[in-house]
Amino acid sequence: MTTWRLLYHLARADFLQRVRSYGFLVTLGFTAYFCYICLPPHEASYVTLQMGGHRGIYNSAYVGTLVAMETTLILSLAGFYLVKNAIERDIRTGVGQILAATPLTKSLYTLGKTLSNFAVLAVMSGVIALAAGVMQFARHEDATIRIWPLLAPFLFIVLPVMAAVASVAVLFEVVPKLRGGLGNVIYFFLWIFACAAMAGLHAEGGGWLRGADLMAFSVAIPSMRSACELAFAGCATATDFSMGFNFGEHWNLSTFQWVGVEWTAGILAGRLLWFGVAAGFALLAGALFHRFDPSGSAAEKSKRW
């Protein structure tokens, strides 16, 4: 009980410090705008997802999944840079030295910081999810808001990745060489590598590997292609596929009906795996953490932890 209470207070204080600022409000404004541009109208000069010149009707399932995948893609990069200052703040303010003089363990501290990072990213994701509902209504291709198909992709696609990002940010903060600009550059290339590697998975079926696809392309795209194939023959094998902001001439996409991802146990296991990865990174960060000793090397400190 004390451990949970401690984790709660560690995360809460850090979270409140970050969200009670005008900067965070501006960030939320940008996230809402991001959702707006994720769902372009028919007449827009760009698309965010198309397969062979088709896309899904903006119903709750399609809106939720599309925006969730785009959010995962963007926040897994931008979110890292946004939250990678939790430990640095404690060093800068001197709060860390006080915490170091308490019985608080290093692993609980890094877990608490991971939770705080996660809470910040989750709030941003939540705002995008709410905005997605509003945008579905505004686009009015299917005005019926269905809560579960709209929100489930945020729960199962976005949040596990945000947990991983939150923990990697803490891990980068505790490794001296990764704390500064070099770490930022390395993360950028890691992100590109992860996106490319996961896109190449092409995992099919309902297994955990499909669910473990970081950006969840394997979770949603095959099912979308199948739905597209039902409406437009040849769509499933079309090589003309794009995801992300694709600017060009007037696209004039035709639409098909897609009912959403079937969240099988295998897919959910694959998604939840990322929470385990996050916990692992947070604990690893705890093992490497210098506990605010301005002089001690990790080897020296490990003598008494």
């Binding site: 560690l10 410090q17 970050r18 303010t93 915490l99 019985p103 400190k301 003598k303």
Partner: protein
């Protein structure tokens, strides 16, 4: 406040060398019992390093510190559960209220919710911040933030309270209030007050350790420190143009420019010149005596 069994902190030949070879502490030994220990020394003397070692934040390179029979470097948790620490550069989470900020530290110190709330209420009263308890800390003055700092250090009713340069940045009234608060906290716990301001320890310390160049110069009661310079403190009125020469010849604790010349307060074994009169020593004189003696010895 509760009473503690007789607490004791033993510092045995502690040395600390930072990366790059800078030696911050060397062969530092001290035995501390209940009361207020004033750790006095010039900037860069090694006070903060010693505080950080005693607060279990950094490890000594040599030697050890013993608390309740245990080496705190090998087993720090026993001390940490009864330790209150206010570091020199204490900052806050500006967007949190005092209550939220203290709840954070109460959890870190292992207090349960009910005890934490009761203790926070008590301490906000002690440090006179009840009216400002819900205001964001970013709106607090330096003195108010420092009072929040001392409140967090007292959350677990510590047996060992370490405060490092606590009056830096405080105005005279806040400094006085802080000293009074520390005096009340003494009793049967150990309070270590590190400072380079003599007046901070003059009124409240039960013993004083003078530190310079990372070494302990002397550890004694204020009365004993004063006795050591008895008869060596002089007040002398000299012409303004001789002041520089006087300063070169004698350790000088104070100079006041008046119409009849410069009133110099200095240390000397015998009368520095005609018209010089003996003065009653203050702790500042004793501090100057030991530090200047150390400088001469080092030179």
């Amino acid at each position: 406040m509760r009473s503690f069994p007789c607490v004791r902190l033993t510092i045995e030949k502690i040395g600390k060398t930072y990366r790059g070879g800078k030696m911050a502490l060397r062969d530092f030994s001290l035995e501390v019992g209940p009361g207020i220990l004033g750790l006095l020394g010039p900037n860069g003397a090694g006070k903060s390093t010693l505080m950080r070692i005693l607060a279990t934040i950094t490890l000594p390179t040599t030697g050890r510190a013993i608390w309740d029979g245990t080496d705190i470097a090998r087993s720090p948790d026993g001390l940490r559960s009864v330790l209150g620490y206010l570091p020199q550069d204490f900052g806050v989470y500006a967007n949190l209220s005092a209550v939220e900020f203290l709840e954070y530290f109460a959890a870190a110190k292992g207090l349960d919710g009910r005890s934490a709330r009761r203790r926070i209420d008590e301490l906000l009263d002690v440090v006179n911040l009840v009216d400002a308890r819900k205001r964001p800390l970013g709106q607090y003055s330096g003195g108010m933030k420092q009072r929040v700092g001392i409140a967090q250090a007292l959350l677990n009713d510590p047996q060992l309270l370490i405060v490092d340069e606590p009056t830096a940045g405080l105005d005279p009234e806040e400094r006085l209030r802080f000293r009074n608060l520390l005096s009340e906290l003494g009793g049967d716990r150990i309070v270590i007050l590190s400072t380079h301001i003599v007046s901070d320890v003059e009124t409240c310390a039960t013993s004083i350790a003078l530190i310079s160049g990372g070494r302990l110069l002397v550890h004694d009661s204020p009365a004993a420190l004063l006795r050591a310079v008895e008869g060596q403190v002089w007040e002398w009125v000299v012409p303004g143009e001789e002041l520089a020469a006087v300063r070169r010849s004698y350790p000088t604790s104070n100079t006041v420019h008046r119409s009849d010349g410069v009133h110099v307060r200095l240390l000397a074994d015998r009368s520095p010149g005609s018209g010089a009169v003996r003065a009653a020593p203050t702790l500042e004189d004793a501090y100057l005596f030991w530090v200047s003696r150390d400088r001469v010895a080092s030179a």
